[in-house]
């Protein structure tokens, strides 16, 4: 299929619902043509509302939306020429697979020959050849998902929107479709906008992730940027596991956590109260007397150890009562057991300082 992709641009988009609640709070965002961008966030965070404003189903209260450089803020959904995959697929139940896929080709001035060629091509791409005459009800969830993709891609839209497309599938199928969606994105080269609340889908699929919370865009970046350099406590906790050491910033380089000074790299935050965030794989467990001067160390109590084959997951409880976890390669010998008092240590360069709590946004 030919490459056809457009960028999408949101300028200060705000949506205030009639009830007064704010769906989107002043969101600005630029998506390049051909990118795979994920809108990630908990339910009610504004990610689906934002997708719906791009689709045209929700009219923003203020702000503007451009697709391929054209202002579409007031253009109805039927004239935006987008491909959309709905959460429960929304396949037309009374039509065959072929008629579902053909629906979007109507009125595009294509010859009969061209229409059937496009349908065949797209069904081959989503690996559904031979099922043209089935009704949606006669297909499995994964197959329905593929029909929905085929229907949204057959007219080669410059942008494809997907609203939690994998949430209705079971785990194994979800993993498989995730790989498929990645492949299809590479094949068609269209801009993909993918809404999900599943961090693994976001990390695994995206060129960039847009993290939403409470109607706002909190952070935009590549999966590794979001994982390694979260800019807020929310980002750190929503993506991946993290150990959070909340405390007061006492100098440009140190934060006091439960009476223990911890060093951090980078400048001091604007607020006095902040938190150091460390990922489980960057923490080490040592015996209490084993600490090294170049590391931060915090004493902890081991509350549980789980074996996962290639690694052990160690759950700990810190001085302030918060809990955390770290990982230890299972190739080394197990030196600790539940109930041990240990030191949890890390290299200050492998941790991030973020503003504390709700002020983070």
């Amino acid at each position: 299929m030919s490459t056809n992709s457009s960028g999408v641009r949101l300028r200060s988009v705000t949506k205030r619902f009639r009830s007064g609640t704010i769906g989107i709070d002043n969101a600005s965002l630029t998506i390049e043509g051909g990118e795979f961008v994920t809108f990630l966030g908990p339910s009610g965070s504004g990610k689906t509302t934002t997708l719906n404003t791009i689709a045209g189903f929700v009219r923003p209260t203020s702000g503007s939306i451009e697709i391929g450089g054209r202002d579409v803020t007031k253009v109805p959904p039927s004239k935006r020429n987008l491909g959309i995959v709905f959460q429960n697929y929304a396949l037309f139940p009374h039509m065959s697979v072929r008629d579902n896929v053909a629906f979007g080709l109507h009125g595009r001035g294509l010859s009969k020959h061209e229409v059937s060629k496009r349908i065949n091509d797209v069904l081959t791409m989503v690996r559904l050849g031979g099922l043209e005459d089935r009704r949606p009800k006669q297909l499995s969830g994964g197959q329905q998902q593929r029909v929905a993709l085929a229907r949204a891609l057959v007219y080669q839209p410059p942008v494809l929107l997907m609203d939690e497309p994998l949430s209705a599938l079971d785990k194994a199928l979800r993993d498989q479709m995730q790989v498929e969606i990645g492949r299809i994105h590479r094949e068609v080269g269209t801009t993909f906008l993918f809404v999900t609340h599943d961090q693994n889908e976001a990390l695994g699929l995206s060129d960039r992730i847009v993290l939403f919370n409470e109607g706002r865009i909190l952070q935009v970046g590549t999966p590794s940027e979001l994982y390694e350099q979260p800019r807020s406590l929310f980002a750190a906790q929503f993506l991946g596991e993290s150990n959070v050491f909340r405390g007061r910033v006492t100098s440009a380089q140190t934060l006091e956590f439960a009476g223990v000074p911890l060093r951090f790299n980078g400048g001091a935050p604007a607020t006095k109260s902040a938190a150091i965030v460390v990922r489980p794989e960057n923490l080490l467990v040592r015996q209490a007397d084993e600490a090294r001067p170049d590391e931060n160390q915090v004493s902890a109590l081991i509350t549980n150890i789980s074996y996962f084959g290639s690694f052990r997951s160690i759950m700990v409880s810190y001085l302030d009562g918060s809990s955390g976890q770290l990982r230890e390669s299972a190739s080394s010998e197990a030196r600790f057991s539940r109930g041990d008092n240990v030191s949890v240590c890390w290299d200050p360069g492998r941790a991030v300082l973020v503003d504390d709590g709700e002020a983070a946004a």
Partner: protein, 266 residues
């Protein structure tokens, strides 16, 4: 079938009793219509078709049957169009506007028939709508409309709203979305609503008895007049004909649906 899905003898007897109570009067009417004597004796002592001959040869009955069918069909067409359109509108504005409009349209279903009929008669007298087809048409449309609105509305609310969005995203305008997506989804309910509205009109007695004149009478009114004027089994013959017709109307869709191959029935 397992033992407990069948139910015991008690349940069977109860079900049979209810069935007999419901059907018995009908089953008495049919034999009486074939009686050779001018009486309602049951069972009839001798058989004939003369009461049927009576219907066929009487312009009175023909005219009443014609009026009722014409009226029923017109009411059905108008109610189906208006009722479906109203349901679509109400569905689109689910707030206070929708609730108020629903309330007004459905009111004839709740207001006692005699109250509606008196109100209709009082106003139609002033509007010169008594004793003519337009009056019947208007009255029956008002009375039958709720059945279409309610059935179509319930079907709309159980239809996935994403279907219309999907059609829009695929470039379909309002008309194409309605014709290719919404209408096929609600078609069975539109059909049921149409049937209900026909039957409502065909069966309506109270308003019709106010609006009738010797010139225009619907079938139920003609039957009523006939019973009060003379006692003869013609009325039983008419009842039997109506019974046969309505049974056919109700059974036809069921038979057609069962004939269709399984895969296509969804």
């Amino acid at each position: 079938m397992s033992e407990n899905t069948r139910g015991g003898w008690g349940l069977w007897i109860w079900a049979a009793l209810v069935a007999v109570l419901l059907v018995a009067p009908l089953l008495a009417v049919v034999p009486i219509s074939f009686s050779a004597k001018q009486s309602f004796t049951f069972p009839p002592s001798s058989l004939s078709l003369k009461w049927y001959e009576n219907i066929v040869s009487s312009p009175r009955w023909w005219s009443a049957i014609g009026t009722s069918i014409l009226l029923g069909v017109l009411v059905m067409v108008i109610c189906t169009l208006l009722g479906t359109a109203a349901a679509l509108g109400i569905h689109r504005y689910p707030g206070r506007v929708g609730a108020v409009v629903t309330g007004i349209l459905v009111a004839p279903m709740i207001i006692p028939g005699i109250v509606s009929a008196v109100a209709i008669y009082a106003s139609y007298l002033r509007w010169h709508l008594t004793g003519n087809l337009q009056g019947f048409l208007l009255a029956h449309t008002v009375l039958a409309l709720p059945f279409v609105v309610v059935t179509v509305l319930s079907s709309l609310s159980s239809t996935d709203p994403a279907l219309e969005r999907a059609a829009a995203s695929l470039g379909a305008g309002a008309w194409r979305t309605f014709a290719r997506v919404t209408l096929p989804a609600i078609a069975p309910s539109v059909g049921a609503g149409a049937l209900f509205s026909f039957v409502t009109s065909f069966d309506e007695v109270v308003a019709a008895s106010f609006l009738q004149s010797p010139v225009i009478r619907t079938l139920p009114i003609e039957m009523f007049v006939s019973v009060t004027n003379q006692v003869d089994p013609t009325i039983a013959a008419v009842s039997t004909v109506i019974l046969a017709l309505t049974t056919m109307v109700v059974l036809l869709p069921v038979i057609v649906r069962n004939r269709r191959p399984k895969g296509a029935s969804s």
